[in-house]
Symmetry: none
Subunit: 417 residues, 2 copies
């Protein structure tokens, strides 16, 4: 089978619902998008479910599915993903948590789950804790993430992620830290892991209390980061390499390190540079140029991720979402100008919907386009959730869209003969 290439543009959280302030249109429908409209007119379209109708997903699960990986089978939990995105090379058997630097009082009451939204000094605090040895020989790895966030990994023998960790949850600030316990008291590995986590938590409190970063914060009237609060325990299952299974060389270009972490997990290369921020102000045209260059270098599949549409959804800023969509449209135009549709398909999708008025992820289908020389065209004339309801891809799932792209590119294997 003849091989071709593909570029996939992912607009995070793109999907939306009719918004009164936009005259009953969605941001994608309201935006001026000549290039996305052309992709829609000349390609096939639909609203596509990340997993199944009405099921909302996180960025991590959404991207696993877009990358052709069955999240139901292989999703390792948020802890391992955060650890991976923080650059910790987690191994089989490790138990990883996501966590926050927080503030507690002497009776372990949680004063603030985010230590006054601490930004500076978390690297020093994490370094002061990372490498800690526990009594049974388990090692603890700690790595700061963005803002108050942190990844914690227990590396030792016979550990289990089936435990209740220390976090009290957002709704329960003012409660005491949870003392970890196994989900099933009969599970020795989980009991041991819970003890390890508590030992680490207490040790960390001792070290953090007197750390210069915290002394400085207290002097400045800020809440000290005197505890690490953990949640989302998980172990890495053996995730199959999509890249190896299909024999594709793929690159993911993204400012968002969670997306980059997922890409690496399924065997794709990951590219980020300082100007690719994963924020509102990312260097969209820089990403477009990198995508085109990577196709010319010979990558089979290049993924470009833009986070801003999701952030605008969470913040209920429809016009900001419109603005970012128009920037993405410019990116699509640049890409179309610099590649040949005969040799390289272009697809456009989202990992989930983040409707502005919902301010959170929902289970709506996400607007999706596949475009290229010999793609069967449907009758859609314009980009938008409403228009795509009559498209050929309507009601398919993210993993179907992955497979369809791979089939167009010539990387699927025939069943039977």
């Amino acid at each position: 089978m003849r091989k071709r290439q593909g570029i996939l543009i992912i607009s995070d959280g793109l999907g939306d619902r009719p918004i009164k302030a936009l005259g009953g249109l969605t941001p994608l429908e309201y935006a001026n998008t000549p290039n996305l409209d052309r992709l829609a007119r000349e390609g096939c379209t639909g609203n596509v479910y990340p997993i199944a109708p009405g099921i909302p997903v996180g960025t991590d699960v959404g991207h696993m599915e877009i990358f052709g990986c069955d999240s139901n089978k292989y999703y390792p939990g948020r802890g391992p993903l955060e650890a991976l995105s923080g650059g910790i090379e987690i191994r089989e058997g490790d138990v990883a948590f996501r966590g926050n630097f927080g503030t507690i009082d002497e009776e372990y009451t949680v004063i603030d789950r985010r230590a006054g939204r601490i930004q500076d000094g978390t690297r020093e605090l994490a370094e002061a804790l990372s490498g800690m040895k526990l009594k049974d020989g388990t090692t603890v790895l700690v790595k700061e993430l963005t803002q108050h966030r942190v990844a914690v990994v227990l590396r030792g023998k016979e550990l289990s992620a089936a435990i209740v960790p220390t976090d009290v949850g957002t709704a329960n600030e003012g409660a005491k830290l949870v003392i970890p316990c196994p989900e099933d008291p009969a599970c020795k590995e989980a009991a041991k892991t819970a003890e390890n986590l508590w030992e680490f938590t207490l040790n960390a409190m001792e070290i953090l209390k007197n750390h210069p970063v915290n002394q400085e914060r207290v002097r400045n009237g800020l809440l000290p980061a005197n505890v690490i609060i953990t949640r989302g325990p998980g172990q890495l299952s053996t995730i199959p390499s999509t890249a190896r299974q299909l024999g594709i060389r793929a690159l993911c270009i993204a400012g968002d390190i969670t997306v980059g972490g997922i890409a690496r997990l399924v065997g794709f290369d990951y590219y980020v540079q300082d100007s690719f921020t994963g924020g509102f102000n990312t260097d969209i045209m820089g990403k477009a140029r990198k995508a085109v260059d990577s196709i010319k270098e010979g990558y089979d599949w290049v993924i470009v991720h833009i986070k801003g549409t999701d952030l605008a959804g969470h913040d209920n800023q429809p016009l900001e979402k419109v603005r970012i969509i128009e920037e993405i449209d410019g990116m699509a135009g640049y890409i179309m100008d610099h590649i040949s549709g005969e040799q390289c398909y272009i697809a456009f999708t989202a990992d989930h919907s983040t409707p502005c008025e919902a301010r959170d992820h929902t289970g709506d289908g996400v607007p999706t386009i596949i475009w290229g020389g010999d793609v069967r065209r449907d009758k859609t004339e314009k980009a938008g959730e409403t228009f795509f309801m009559e498209g050929a891809l309507q009601n398919l799932k993210a993993r179907d869209i992955f497979t369809i792209q791979m089939d167009l590119m010539g990387f699927t294997k025939k069943r039977g003969a």
Copy 2:
């Protein structure tokens, strides 16, 4: 439930993509098809996936699904299918291979995997080998298929298909014959089967060497068919009889013996006559008459298969594909003229897409119609992949279409009460 009858027309490899030489239309869209257009206008339509979006399938797997059988569960491998299509009644425990008559030199180097594309005399050669007894009591059945192809079945105790057979593969002509071995050296059944296959191969070489057919070939300057090269080992899993499960009497009319073999596997009768060739020049109107006659005889479901559209796709001959589609349209017209839509549904589908420009099977959906007195009509006006994207059956799967037909015909069973 009142029972009705059904005719299903299968145009092998029909699905295609927009083709520049046809003004951006697919062959089905380009062809003049008044009868298929009428079926589409009065029936319900869609593009239907053989298994799942983007997954290409072979003719065998595609037809298993069209016939209501879960290929993922029951696909037995190509060897048993070839043996069945050749008329060998394979049994539980048999290990079947597909094979070629080939030419090797005295050092077992494969000179030609197809013995100069031998056509004549293969029946005599197969008969000289079939029934061979091996040392451990295993019997070998050999049956010639079309051209240089042959089916080989090992019938004995405790055999396994998990072996590496003798074929060097198309890319490796000039290499030595592979000496069979078990995939897992620890598997005794596989080790024994590998030994049996090698014993058969050596014995067959002795017999073929001096066979009059080969003496004649050598005299005429042709390559002798002095070896049988085997591949695709498989054992028959217990495939459920669709016919028995639903209580239908079904007939498959096809020139292609693989399709006929699959039909028999699921409990359908199979009809072929010399003029039904499975090639470009098959007797399409003869098949149409046979289909109508069989409905009048009382068959519940009659399947008519035409291979030419697939062959034209593999050969990248869009206009030939158009010509065959127009012949199929004539067949559809004949059938509509000779049956009553009140008593007999007509459906039209394909086992997979073979887009001309891809020259191979792809995972695109296949154009599908169901027509008959009380079928719910969608708004489709004309036959074609693009038009069917808005049809009611869009994005369903082949087995769904089977079940919908059986339900219309009154052969499904209610779940619950």
